[in-house]
């Protein structure tokens, strides 16, 4: 049972999809049945995923619930799944957000329900697969498989420019991941296996890529780039972000929630899981440049978000900014920074997911997202406004809400980092991003929620119904919980993050670079 838990987790949504298709042939079928079936299966998936927590006593310092069987003998590809502190919370985030986004599509999706819910379930299965696969080929398989349903979700149920957005999304991500595929096969050629743990073991025992290429780091460098390119596009790191505003804006609400909440995390997760551990020495060399890109992204995303006339586009650009934080923290290579980075992934999923849901709700009522169309919603829709304000504050990073913990840890980690020389400058710049996020979100709130009720149409809007409140409540609870009591979350990821961190920092390669040399006089508070 333990061994098959992850497979069950992946297959439950698939079973749901098959049930949907089967139901479409039933004589007594009704369009409304589809959403109930889908909701049922996604809730079951969530319940199953909670079983993962029973291994909490191990602190997830190593892979739990491992399943490792041979898949393709000819190329020794394996079906190897496992979950550790890095992936645990992301899996849970996935299984939580999917039922919520299905619930959010309850009335907004009124055509082609069968296909919509089928794609949602396939997507869920692929996303879970990405986070739990430990074989590079399987990982790639799920990574790409998540692309297709999202492509359809944007393209069929999206907004005005949905075709443009869907194609842009697909081509960008596909190009990146194809390069990763080339990298994966090159790794295979060296190690004759796709199994991540086996490759890592071989590297630990001295068979690093630069050792295999006789001290030449060029290939390792290209491999790092091949992997990183795929993940940078997915994250998206500036300047690879241009697909994101289009895709987020045009996608249906559920699609945006999943896209922002989980698909972007596949990029940062991939960076942390694969780039940092497989190519540690190159990661150290590249870290300053990536940090620069991340900081540019933080400030650029915030500045562009500020001038957006469209609420959804504003939230989309705020994602660019927030994901910049995640990358910044990760590449600080400090425990605080990396823990904060992981924590911020969850925060972003929760709060940006909530923001997209809220924007979707108002769009359903007004069929517009122009900020100038709104104003004074707090009078006509008090409950809605409350939720909107709390989600925004969480996204800004107000203390006692989840965003604060993540951003604080990341900034602390960046301040303490030894990987770049003038870390305090980087921290200050990142801090500017926090301030800017407060500016654009509060300004947006002022124009949408507060102020006088200028527009006649806004006066007659109905407030949230119980379904909508119900689907926001779990996210709200999470925001508060993660804001005041982050310990259980951080505890379970600590050991895994520490493994990655020590792997990055203490792996010598080519003998030309050590952390100590970069910052010879600095006191290291982490060790």
């Amino acid at each position: 049972m333990q061994q098959y838990l992850l497979t069950i987790l992946i297959l439950t949504p698939v079973a749901g999809m098959l049930a949907l298709v089967g139901h479409s042939f039933a004589p007594y079928k009704r369009e409304t049945h589809y959403r109930w079936i889908t909701l049922g299966f996604s809730v079951i998936t969530f319940a199953v995923s909670l079983l993962l927590l029973q291994a909490a006593h191990t602190n997830f310092s190593s892979f739990q619930f491992e399943q490792n069987v041979s898949w393709i003998n000819a190329i020794s590809a394996r079906y190897h799944l496992g979950v550790d502190g890095l992936s645990l919370w992301l899996v849970l985030l996935t299984t939580l957000l999917v039922p919520i986004s299905i619930l959010s599509s309850w009335t907004s999706i009124d055509k082609r329900e069968l296909s919509f819910y089928a794609f949602m379930l396939i997507l869920e299965s692929a996303m879970i697969g990405v986070f739990v696969s430990l074989d590079l080929l399987i990982f790639y398989l799920f990574f790409e498989a998540s692309l297709v349903p999202m492509f359809f979700l944007i393209g069929i149920w999206g907004g005005e420019r949905r075709i443009y957005a869907a194609v842009k999304f697909f081509i960008y991500t596909a190009v990146g991941s194809l390069l990763m595929l080339a990298g994966i096969i090159v790794l295979y050629v060296f190690y004759q296996t796709f199994d991540y743990t086996v490759i890592l073991g071989a590297m630990r025992s001295g068979q690093t890529i630069s050792a295999l290429t006789k001290g030449n780091q060029t290939l390792e460098f290209w491999l790092f780039l091949a992997f990183a390119f795929a993940f940078f596009i997915k994250v998206p790191l500036w300047p690879f972000h241009t697909w994101l505003p289009d895709a987020h804006t045009e996608a249906p609400t559920a699609g945006s929630v999943i896209l922002a909440g989980i698909l972007l995390k596949m990029g940062t997760y991939g960076l942390m899981r694969f780039n940092l551990t497989l190519f540690p020495s190159i990661s150290r060399i590249m870290a300053p440049y990536i940090i620069i890109l991340a900081i540019i992204g933080i400030i650029y995303g915030a500045l562009v978000a500020m001038v957006q006339p469209d609420v959804k586009r504003l939230v989309a650009y705020s994602s660019v900014s927030h994901m910049g934080f995640v990358v910044l923290g990760m590449f600080s290579f400090t425990e605080w920074g990396m823990q904060g980075s992981l924590y911020q992934m969850l925060n972003h999923g929760v709060s940006t997911g909530a923001l997209f849901l809220i924007v979707g709700m108002i769009y359903e009522r007004r069929h517009t997202r122009e900020i100038s169309e709104f104003g004074g919603l707090s009078m006509s829709m008090p409950v809605f406004s409350t939720f909107f304000v709390i989600a925004s504050l969480s996204s800004i990073g107000l203390p006692f809400l989840n965003g604060f913990i993540g951003e604080f840890l990341i900034m602390l980690g960046t301040w303490m980092t030894e990987i770049i020389r003038y870390a305090w400058i980087a921290t200050m710049l990142a801090g500017t991003g926090v301030i800017l996020s407060a500016v654009y979100l509060l300004w947006m709130l002022q124009r949408v929620v507060f102020g006088p009720l200028k527009n006649e149409k806004n006066a007659r809007l109905t407030d949230l119904n119980y379904r909508e409140i119900g689907l926001l409540i779990p996210l709200l609870i999470l925001m508060l919980l993660m804001g005041v009591y982050p310990r259980p979350f951080l505890d379970l990821s600590r050991a895994s993050v520490e493994t990655v961190r020590s792997r990055v920092l203490h792996t010598e390669s080519g003998g030309s670079y050590t952390v100590e040399r970069l910052n010879p006089q600095g006191v290291s508070p982490n060790r």
Binding site: L147, G155, A166, A174, V175, L181
Partner: protein
């Protein structure tokens, strides 16, 4: 010296082993029977011909499976003219599968178009036997013979809709350029034959394994180069590599859709089978570069790398600008020939038997995956095109996604598989080919292939976009799907997933087993 003495010197005792060509014989006999049934049966009974053809193909498949699993006898016959190895069996299987699926697709179609069913099916069977001979020939003459049997039947099939000008154009173009390429090939064979005469007085040879032995003792090395180059061009035409691809789009567009399906999957695979055998075994890898053999090997391998790059790029770039689905698929088939050439290069570049076997099986596997998804796609295109191939433009697919969801989703699956998305056969095929090339050290070639895959995403997705993301403005009546086509779609969809998820068994079967080093005497 008189004639009788000369005859005594020659070894005339025939090395006959009919069991070794059993699948070919079965298919030929089935073709003759179908022809006779067509001639003698009353017009009403001619629908039987399709069924008979299927029976013949299935029997041949059974025979080849038998040879696959438990063949203990000699692995060559007719003085090395016919060889038995996994390369042959793999491609024989592909030929039979393609043919059987084509029969299933065309069974109802051929009646609906008022075409002579019996002739169509017997031509198809003869073409299949030609493909099988191309895969099993260990001698240039047999390969040429197979090629001609295949080509002549295909020329006729391309022009099968006699009253349709596009079909006529397709047939004529195919005939002229096909004969042209056959001439190239034949000239190449002749030159190689002439060049393999030795100083010791041995006459030239057309046996592939023997050619490899004679390369370094050849009397006329320049002729060898010329002959190899001619054959390269000839095969290049047959499998539609750029710059010898110009006939492909016109021919594929004009030919009746089931015939296009057959042409894109079958003859291309057969061309690869003999192309592989002639070059990988006839002009094999050698460690000493200075020798004649080494020079020839380096020359053709280099040429092939260039061909692969040009073919992938031209195929993919050409496909982007097409407005006709069949033409787009034609360009995509050019691109896929380029990807398969990547595996070919890998097979040629190594002397290690294990790597070579892996690379060869990767090409065979690639052609199998391509055949499965391509036939599936063309089956749907046939249905949507209706009688007379009237609706083959992208416009005609506008918004049919939710009008005919079954067909549209199936076609999308094939498009994604052609694109090489994970979980599908196309992905596994690409993985195998790329891995072989990387094993042989062709990093940049693989990177170019990967970038090409990214380009191809654009036009494969375009069809999906047209079907699902646009709204239909004109009326649409869903085509009736005949039972035989449903069978084809089920087989191909399952095949796409089976080859994409559990390719173990097929890969093992396609791989050469260690003791039987191929085609050595």
């Amino acid at each position: 010296m008189n004639l009788s003495l000369a005859l005594q010197i020659q070894n005339v005792s025939p090395d006959v082993n009919l069991l070794l060509i059993l699948p070919e014989l079965i298919v030929c006999t089935a073709g003759v029977i179908v022809m006779m049934v067509d001639a003698f049966a009353r017009p009403r009974q001619r629908w039987m011909t399709g069924g008979l053809a299927l029976v013949g193909l299935v029997a041949a498949m059974a025979a080849s499976f038998w040879m696959w699993s438990g063949w203990a006898g000699p692995r060559e016959a007719f003085h090395g003219m016919i060889v038995l190895d996994e390369l042959r069996l793999g491609f024989t299987f592909i030929a039979l599968l393609v043919s059987a699926l084509t029969v299933l697709v065309s069974m109802v179609w051929v009646e609906g178009e008022n075409l002579p069913a019996g002739e169509f099916h017997s031509l198809l069977l003869f073409a299949t036997s030609g493909m099988m001979l191309m895969a099993s020939g260990g001698d240039l003459v047999i390969i040429f013979l197979g090629l001609e049997i295949l080509s002549i039947a295909t020329y006729v099939m391309a022009g099968f809709r006699r009253t349709d000008l596009r079909s006529n154009e397709s047939s004529l173009k195919y005939f002229i350029l096909g004969s042209f390429s056959s001439a190239f090939l034949l000239y190449g064979i002749a030159l190689v034959y002439g060049a393999t005469a030795t100083r010791t007085g041995l006459a030239g040879t057309t046996n592939i394994a023997e050619i490899a032995n004679r390369l370094d003792v050849s009397l006329y090395p320049p002729l060898l180069f010329a002959g190899a180059a001619m054959m390269l061009v000839g095969f290049g035409f047959k499998i539609a590599t750029a710059p010898f691809h110009v006939w492909t789009p016109d021919v594929y567009e004009g030919a009746p859709t089931p015939v296009t399906a057959f042409m894109a999957a079958g003859p291309k695979a057969a061309g690869f089978a003999s192309f592989l055998r002639v070059f990988v075994f006839g002009f094999p890898f050698v460690a000493t570069v200075a020798s004649v053999q080494g020079q020839i090997h380096a020359a053709w391998l280099g040429a092939l790398v260039v061909l692969a790059i040009i073919t992938m790029t031209i195929g993919n770039v050409g496909a982007i600008v097409q407005n006709n689905v069949k033409r787009m698929l034609a360009y995509s088939s050019i691109a896929h020939a380029g990807y398969a050439l990547v595996g070919f290069v890998a097979a040629g570049a190594t002397g290690d038997p294990v790597f070579k076997s892996e690379a060869l099986s990767s090409v065979a596997f690639y052609m199998l995956t391509y055949a499965v998804m391509n036939l599936g796609a063309f089956a749907v295109v046939t249905l949507i095109a209706r009688s007379g191939d009237r609706r083959t433009d992208f416009e005609d697919y506008n918004g049919i996604g939710f009008q005919s969801p079954g067909l549209a989703f199936t076609l999308s699956l094939f498009m994604l598989s052609l694109l090489g998305l994970p979980l599908t056969a196309g992905f596994m095929g690409k993985i195998m080919v790329f891995r072989a090339a990387l094993n042989a050290g062709y990093y940049s070639l693989v990177v170019i292939a990967v970038l090409n895959t990214a380009i191809s995403a654009y036009y494969y997705l375009r069809l999906i976009i047209v079907m699902f993301f646009r709204e239909r403005t004109t009326s649409w009546s869903a085509p009736r799907v005949p039972a035989s086509v449903i069978v084809v779609l089920i087989i191909t969809v399952l095949g796409v997933f089976y080859l994409g998820l559990f390719p173990n068994r097929v890969l093992d079967a396609f791989k050469t087993r260690p003791p039987a080093v191929m085609a050595t005497r």
